[in-house]
């Protein structure tokens, strides 16, 4: 029983690992689609909650895979999902780094570095939209997102401070 679940987790996360150009943000859209719409492991709002946890915690946002794996198949599910999301991309990176240093004069180096950027940009924005949709956001959240984006782009305010203040304000608003 659990073996099939482990296998399904690997089948979901390993391909995403290879496609996460630009980091975990790039695959949030497809992950949300797979986990919520295709496999029905989580509801949209639950997915948004786990996304929030993974962004509030230290470490890469791809660790959301650990939370999903845990939800699906317990602690070992978390381990399997985490390995599935990191190992395939890690081998690609290891190979690419070796190739990079072995081919100092190759014109493909610049082409690779520049050519992957538009792909990453498109996927990162798609990921942001997917979370907004999954979370069924309200006007307040949209304003928060816009404000935080502005702060992060134009100021040097620390992300810890932003998170603490936001969580506090939202909790207080709920309390009142």
């Amino acid at each position: 029983m659990n073996e099939t679940r482990f296998l399904t987790l690997i089948l979901v996360f390993a391909p995403l690992s290879l496609l996460s150009f630009g980091g975990g943000q790039a695959i949030v859209a497809d992950m949300q689609h797979q986990v919520v719409d295709v496999r029905h492991w989580l509801s949209g709002p639950q997915f948004a909650d786990l996304f929030a946890l993974s962004r509030a915690a230290p470490g890469p946002s791809t660790l959301i895979a650990a939370l999903i794996g845990w939800q699906v198949a317990g602690f070992m599910g978390a381990v399997v999902a985490t390995l599935a999301i990191y190992i395939p991309s890690s081998f690609v990176v290891y190979g690419a780094v070796r190739w990079w240093h072995a081919s100092k004069d190759s014109p493909w180096r610049g082409a690779l570095a520049r050519g992957l950027i538009p792909v990453a940009v498109g996927l990162v924005f798609a990921g942001a939209l997917a979370v907004l949709e999954a979370a069924h956001v309200n006007a307040l959240q949209l304003v928060t997102t816009a404000l935080v984006t502005g702060l992060l782009v134009f100021s040097r305010v620390g992300i810890y401070a932003i998170m603490a203040v936001t969580a506090l304000v939202y909790a207080l608003l709920e309390f009142l």
Binding site: S17, L19, G23, I27, V28, A29, D30, A48, L50, A52, L53, S54, R55, A56, P58, G59, P60, L63, Y86, S89, S90, V92, Y94, V97, R98, W100, P107, R109, G110, A113, R114, G115, L116, I117, P118, V119, V121, G122, L123, F125, A126, G127, A128, L132, L140, Q141, T144, T145, L147, V148, T149, L151, V153, I159, T166, A167, V169, Y170, A171, L173
Partner: protein, 189 residues
């Protein structure tokens, strides 16, 4: 600043290597990893020079995988080969993995509380803001019409229309790289 040319590689014990990434992994998040690693690897320990670090950062960003993990693999494998890459990545992922499971446990206990749910809704909005700010910083490097078109196509098809991502990426990624390859441009250090 005090960077030496890394013609000779410094000898770095595996445990030291893992220790540095372990410390950075547990203290940094939300894109600050690169800044911490820069301080540890370039400024404090002199394991890499600045230019080398910037190359590592660019590759870590554009290749698939989480940037901090990719950076660990790059640095670890440069200093100690494949085993070094694995040790650095493990150091980087281990502590956050434990933290996120602890948070997941708390979420199971208290996730049904309205106040917790409200705070998480706020944090999700912050998380999307973090994602957007990363996207905007990357987007500054996309200026020419065809790369902009490639980025926009991916956003609209995958994000708005919910087309499956895998075929879109498999088609557009080689197209984008080939385009950069054959229109010529400045070489990357």
């Amino acid at each position: 600043m005090s960077s030496e040319p890394t013609a000779h590689k410094p000898h770095v014990p595996l445990l030291d290597l893992m220790g540095v990434f372990f410390r950075v992994g547990i203290t940094s998040f939300g894109g600050s990893t690169a800044a911490w690693l820069y301080r540890e690897l370039v400024e404090r320990r002199g394991w890499m020079d600045e230019e080398h670090f910037l190359t590592a950062l660019t590759l870590a960003q554009v290749l698939p995988g989480a940037n901090p993990v990719n950076l660990s693999i790059y640095v670890g494998s440069q200093l100690r080969g494949g085993i070094g890459g694995a040790a650095a990545a493990l150091g980087m992922i281990g502590p956050p993995f434990c933290v996120i499971l602890a948070l997941g446990y708390l979420y199971r206990q208290f996730g049904s509380s309205a106040i917790v749910h409200a705070a998480l809704a706020g944090l999700a909005a912050v998380g999307v803001g973090m994602t957007l700010s990363i996207g905007l910083k990357l987007a500054k490097k996309v200026r020419k019409p065809i790369p902009v078109l490639i980025a926009a196509t991916l956003f609209v098809t995958v994000g708005v229309l919910h087309w499956p991502m895998i075929p879109m990426v498999i088609v557009l990624t080689p197209a984008s790289i080939l385009l950069e390859r054959f229109k010529g441009g400045k070489p990357v250090p």
